[in-house]
């Protein structure tokens, strides 16, 4: 079963980090976002209380998910919204295609939705000869470049302004070499306004769906979801089943956590509450499973369904920051993506739970208290158990497990390891040792902690 994809995370990351200056810049940029998050969080005395509530609300919701989905559907339909259910990505795409065909629609705008990325909606529709225009600025940039977003909140975070300038010069005919973000954003504003004004159908995501009222909330800073949804005669919102919360008052917890965790803002510029279609408008919601009910049944990984997609765990992750989003080869990258994706396809994503230092920083920043690093550790065990790792890694992991469970052998190995590293460092610092790649081996101490402790404990 070592028949892995051609490029796994480590291999893709290796290409990314070849450009050292860019890697450092990527790292610093995301750390800057993480620091903004810290500043916003420290301004809220009740932060831990909010996290606790958010986590409990989500735990409760998952424990009653079927009933909340039914209640949501009933209320939304009573409000005049059409509800569709999709078991997987393909069915989601087919349902969308049917709505487009039935209404003979060709001008479509879409605001950011990780679910449609997960389902590869754009590619699917393209094959049917239908073009979708992404309207979030970062998404539009990567769309013009024929790339995938590299981050769920900051889709073009891997690009520099020169890259954007070149892309816009080619596609929007902006001045060559003009790298001013203000100028470039203005060009995109004019270009996208034309699309908004003529759009016939708008696709949006859903941040929160409220079971009690049948309404849903979409959060953006640019206002692009609203520009599309309030213009087009048809609005289709796509949501995963885990987006449900019980009541409107619970939004008071989540809206406070989401933007602070994502970008350090007190709240997104627009938090739009959709309840009913406007007169003359059609509103549809596609409720998607795509592996979520299966994850609900995996007790060890169920918690991952609490995710509100703030990306705080991305921004804090030392591996994500230095390997770039594309190295995760999935729509949702970063620590949480490494938990969600093996559920969808364990073989194709067997590398992802290993793309972490297990430092625990992700779990510390998570606003809904998902035990991210523990789940990554658990996935590693499942994946090794199921035989989805390369043989070298499997042997190494088995060996380590044996070593750690045999204290006497462990101490002997430590002793000889220290002796080797001190007297013959070239044995460690060579290309055959995969740990030596991108690392200097440590200087070995003369004495182990165990020996030191034995000598000193009675002093």
């Amino acid at each position: 079963m070592s028949n892995l994809k051609t490029l796994d995370h480590a291999a893709a990351a290796e290409i990314f980090i070849k450009d050292e200056a860019r890697t450092d810049w990527h790292d610093d940029t995301l750390w800057f976002v993480r620091q903004k998050r810290d500043k916003a969080v420290h301004g809220i005395a009740e932060w831990e209380q909010l996290r606790e509530w958010a986590s409990e609300i989500k735990n409760h919701t998952l424990s009653n998910l079927d009933n909340y989905l039914i209640a949501f559907e009933k209320q939304a339909e009573a409000n005049g919204i059409k509800i569709h259910w999709a078991a997987d990505a393909l069915e989601h795409n087919q349902l969308m295609h049917k709505i487009l065909k039935d209404n003979n629609i060709s001008r479509i705008v879409k605001s950011k939705s990780m679910l449609t990325e997960e389902c590869h909606l754009n590619d699917y529709l393209k094959k049917q000869g239908i073009e979708v225009v992404d309207t979030d600025l970062g998404e539009r940039i990567v769309q013009l470049r024929d790339e995938a977003p590299s981050h769920i909140v900051l889709p073009a975070i891997h690009l520099k302004k020169q890259d954007v300038s070149e892309t816009f010069h080619e596609h929007l005919h902006t001045e060559e070499g003009n790298n001013d973000p203000q100028y470039l954003t203005e060009a995109a504003r004019q270009h996208l306004r034309d699309h908004f004004i003529q759009s016939e159908l708008a696709i949006t995501g859903v941040n929160f769906a409220i079971a009690e009222t049948g309404g849903f909330v979409v959060c953006t800073n640019e206002g692009n979801a609203d520009m599309g949804a309030h213009t087009a005669k048809i609005h289709v919102a796509c949501m995963g089943i885990e987006k449900i919360i019980p009541k409107t008052e619970h939004l008071g917890v989540f809206l406070r956590l989401l933007a602070r965790s994502a970008t350090g803002q007190p709240i997104t510029t627009y938090s739009s509450h959709f309840q009913k279609p406007r007169s003359g408008q059609e509103m549809h919601i596609i409720i998607v499973d795509n592996g979520r009910t299966k994850q609900l049944g995996r007790a060890d990984f169920r918690n991952s369904l609490k995710c509100i997609r703030c990306a705080a765990c991305f921004n804090t992750c030392p591996v994500y920051r230095r390997s770039g989003g594309h190295s995760y080869h999935t729509a949702v990258a970063g620590p949480i993506g490494s938990i969600l994706n093996p559920n969808l396809d364990m073989k194709a994503n067997a590398d992802l739970p290993f793309a972490s230092t297990l430092c625990g920083s992700c779990s510390n920043v998570c606003p809904v208290k998902i035990d991210i690093h523990e789940q990554l550790w658990k996935w590693r065990q499942v994946i090794v158990e199921e035989g989805y790792v390369k043989p070298e890694k499997k042997i190494a992991m088995k060996g380590m497990a044996w070593l750690f469970s045999n204290p006497k052998v462990y101490r002997w190995a430590g002793k000889s390891g220290r002796w080797f590293l001190r007297t013959m460092p070239f044995l460690g610092n060579n290309k055959l040792n995969v740990w030596y790649k991108q690392r200097e081996m440590p200087e070995a101490p003369k004495q182990s902690f165990h020996d030191w402790y034995q000598q000193n404990k009675n002093k």
Binding site: T29, F32, I44, E46, Q49, W53, E56, H60, L62, S63, N64, L65, D66, L69, W85, A86, A87, T135, L137, P155, I157, K161, V164, P181, T185, A188, R189, I197, E212, T213, G215, N221, E222, G223, N224, D226, M227, H230, T231, T248, E249, G252, V253, L255, R256, P266, I267, T269, Y270, S271, S272, H273, Q275, P277, I287, D289, T293, K294, L296, G297
Partner: protein
Amino acid sequence: MSSREKILATCTANKPALVDLPQLSDEHLTHYDDKIAQFKLILEGIGGKVVALENIEQVKEEIAIHKQSGEFVVDTVFNTDDALKAQTSFDLERVDRAYLQATLGVAENGSVWLYEAQMGNRLLPFICQHLFIVLDKATLVDNMYQAYQKLQVQETGFGVFIAGPSKTADIEQSLVIGAHGARSLTVYLV
């Protein structure tokens, strides 16, 4: 089995034992001695403007001046014109200034809430170039918990919290105001 039935049945089979919902309360949350000062501090920190007015007549005068100078001004504070509802994006795209009344403001995050009826047209607060909101300072609440206690979200077709002008930092994290929606937001406190 339809996908709907399949999804619901799997949820039922796979969900864990029922866990209680937490009881939210305002007690644990921050309250501000001076809500106006907090609101101003936060909203100005995220690119909005806050102007305290003596009386609402000043807004009326301002609207008149801008109308006279030939700008396309839409005002739903003093004028409830049903025709606005039927206007399309082609019409509204040309709006230079929109004046709307908000229901309440939130000190903790500098946002204001608007019901659809206060917008006249759902598209207006987003598509206009510059947005002006009139807010009664007595309606300021401390936090989002209090806001949702006061709002009847389900009784409107659409409602929104707006906090500042449209913005993006998608190009190398440089903050740019005016991505798609309004290029500026001014809140008049009366």
